[in-house]
Symmetry: D2
Subunit: 117 residues, 4 copies
């Protein structure tokens, strides 16, 4: 049987993979970044098993093209998501590491149920 | 030589085609719809030749799935964009017609330049 | 420390979430479905930790719109992915269940390393 | 009334805008590029008013990341589409120009109907 921790990690992966491929390519600028961050957070929190989500876009990477805007790239994204399945929690993060938008588990743990004897 | 009206129509088509394929699939609910509308408008207005954009999502089509949310579908979208190239303007609209998310030109016109004699 | 099984489950989730949001919305018909299946498989297999991937699109759901084609929807997708991290494997599947495109873990297991005594 | 040339230009814009935002972000490598090109062409040709489409991905830009693959970026794309509305044709192209993935009309023209007197 699959353990709750594995399920929580699976769900966290789904959310980060989905977020990435849904939003990469969106036109963005420092002035509109807060609006995009908020829309992503509000979209992710709707999904099952999500307890918490925060998204930050790196404005320093928003180099304007000749028309004065940028496109959201994976390396701009710093996102954290916490999922919960049963008594297990998983915190995972998408953040740029050495130029690659890396997704990794920050921590997974299972809360011991209160003893009932 | 391409006329400005054709260019304006071409640019309007680009914006509607891009908007559609960028945003379809995003998790959405009546509570988050305003945030998505605003994010789409702020993303589209950044692009070249766009004078004006309005986006409305049809909340009536947001039938909750078993987890209580929906995904943004093309039929939920009602978007208008006005593009300008030189003295030509094009207003185009994406709206559902008989179940199909139809993109069409509402009007294109060229403003006569002020006579200089 | 995160166990390999959790990592493998996390990676499987990433791949299914990414696949879903990358490809939903693509124009498709029964005649082009095999080409899309192949392109998805070739894209997923490139990603880290993926051992195996198969994608099948349900042609029965490709109801032609007034222009004779459909758009790839989540419910058309039946995808399986096997990820491996260290000695742990995870097989996960995206398939429609009661009208919802459900992603779930089929199995996760860890291979015992050969004893070295 | 909108002229056929404007309509054809509008339709060409839709197709290029859609193509761009549907496919950018897809994992790709020189080995899988032909499969992606073919899938894009087969998806675009399904759409209304499209007479012809060709897609070429620039392999030289597919610099492998630490995991040995790339993501499809707008600058990799060289796509041409021909649309037809009534007797008007529009050929448009997406190609990189000075580092920006530029969409432009190559030519629009209207064929004179055969005189019937």
């Amino acid at each position: 049987m699959t353990r709750d921790c594995e399920q929580a990690a699976f769900e966290a992966g789904i959310k980060l993979g989905a977020l990435y491929h849904q939003w990469v390519g969106t036109p963005v600028s420092p002035a509109s970044a807060a609006s995009i961050e908020s829309a992503i957070e509000k979209a992710v929190i709707l999904q099952p098993f999500v307890e918490e989500v925060t998204v930050h876009l790196n404005r320093d990477l928003m180099i304007p093209n000749r028309f004065g805007y940028s496109e959201l790239s994976g390396t701009m994204l710093d996102a954290q998501v916490v999922t919960r399945v049963g008594f297990a929690y998983c915190r995972a993060r998408l953040a740029t590491s050495e130029g690659y938008p890396m997704m990794r588990i920050v921590e997974c743990h299972e809360i011991s149920p209160v003893s009932d004897h």
